[in-house]
Amino acid sequence: MAFDSTPLRVEVVSAEGLIWEGDAVQVIARTTEGDIGVMANHEPFLGILVPGAAEVFTTEGRREIVAVDGGFMSVADNRVSLLNGYARMAKEISLSEAESELAKAQLALEKGDVSTETMQHYHRASAQVRAAQKAASRN
């Protein structure tokens, strides 16, 4: 089984459904411990994600970017799943919309609203902005 040609089967799952699946050479995501790159035959892994943009390098040489506001990544038997209730593919995010959401959340924070909802809103929006920017910059 240990061949470099074995692709990783990647699934990106949000609460609303399976939003992306495909074969990949590498998946990079940020966990609570820092960035982790997963390639084929990685040992079984389960890590908590921090809000940000995860990257999937497909076998066709494309780069897919996923905005997550938490959730986790699990790896086992060359299957990778990125699970986050609010996960979104960067190509489906409108940068301007995400930016205005972020501005709204920032405004609320500046006004002293530090409720969990506002924090989550802020993290989600900033992850989406980052993902959309990443997608726009190199693709």
Partner: protein
């Protein structure tokens, strides 16, 4: 009457199209639950004891909560009364065990039901019963988790039961009671037992923290499941109710048309009899002259 029939027919068609969408939404949410279950089972096999505040059963529970999923609007037959009946039975059972019962309501109809009877609710949510979003589930779940983690003395609850309606098919929707908290994660563990090998997982940052993060996600996904199932059931009941309303209207139209025809017929007969009577009276009168 035919105006009423047109309205109910339209509502039936709208519900029919929405129910398909709701069913699709419920199906699409399955991978999320599946992945979560898989992760929890992976954890369960590694950390020897899956002990977590959210899975710990309190030895002598004193207060329980009922989370009841009703609809925002009526026109769906016996949907809400079935849910209330089920919730009532569950409340009775809990009270028989000596537990105090607190209520959480989802859906305007349920809230109205409680208010009318002046039964206090801890919290209620409405406005999304037929098209819930994950954010709704998130909000509800987080409130419940917080109240569950609050000790009894400070007003917390020791167990939480959910009353929702399961969408069996377009024809059957059954109200059900499920314990939401403390969580039972047994199913996932047995599932993993079927695998021939158990992979050695690496956890980041560590199994305990991963478990801490996973448990609330698990609760949210349960609530999300209940919301989606109830939404599909609401729409299916609505379609059914509106279909029978349309059929009734149709029947009424037929009976009323028949009655109207009969009345008209009777009137015509009456007139003819009068004319004939009048004519013969005239004939008689002229014959006498």
């Amino acid at each position: 009457m035919s105006a009423t029939k047109k309205i109910t027919k339209a509502m039936e068609l709208i519900a029919a199209s929405k129910v398909i969408r709701a069913q699709q939404a419920a199906r699409r949410a399955l991978p999320y639950t599946r992945e979560l279950n898989r992760a929890v089972s992976a954890l369960a096999t590694h950390t020897r004891n899956l002990e977590h505040p959210l899975t710990t059963q309190i030895e002598r529970p004193r207060r329980a909560a009922l989370l009841v999923f009703t609809s925002d609007r009526g026109m769906n037959g016996a949907f809400n009364s079935n849910v209330h009946k089920m919730a009532g039975q569950m409340r009775q059972r809990l009270e028989d065990q000596g537990l105090e019962v607190k209520r959480y309501m989802v859906g305007r109809k349920g809230i109205g039901y409680m208010k009318f009877r002046e039964i206090p609710m801890v919290q209620s949510w409405d406005g999304f019963s037929d098209a819930p979003t994950f954010a709704n589930a998130h909000e509800i779940a987080d409130v419940l988790i917080e109240d569950f983690l609050t000790p009894y003395e400070e007003g917390g609850v020791d167990e939480i039961h959910a009353v929702y309606t399961r969408m069996e098919s377009m024809l059957t929707q059954t109200p059900r009671v499920r314990r939401l908290l403390p969580l039972e994660v047994v199913e996932g563990v047995t599932e993993l037992g079927e695998l021939d090998h158990i992979p050695q997982y690496e956890f980041e940052p560590d199994p305990e923290t991963v478990l801490d993060e996973l448990m609330p996600l698990y609760v949210r996904s349960r609530v999300w499941f209940y919301l989606l199932q109830s939404a599909a059931s609401i729409l299916a009941s609505q379609q059914k109710a509106m279909k029978s309303a349309t059929d009734n209207a149709q029947q009424l139209i037929e009976t009323l048309t028949r009655e109207a025809n009969q009345a008209r017929q009777a009137e015509i007969t009456q007139e003819i009899t009068e004319i004939v009577g009048g004519a013969s009276a005239l004939a008689e009168a002229s014959a006498e002259n």
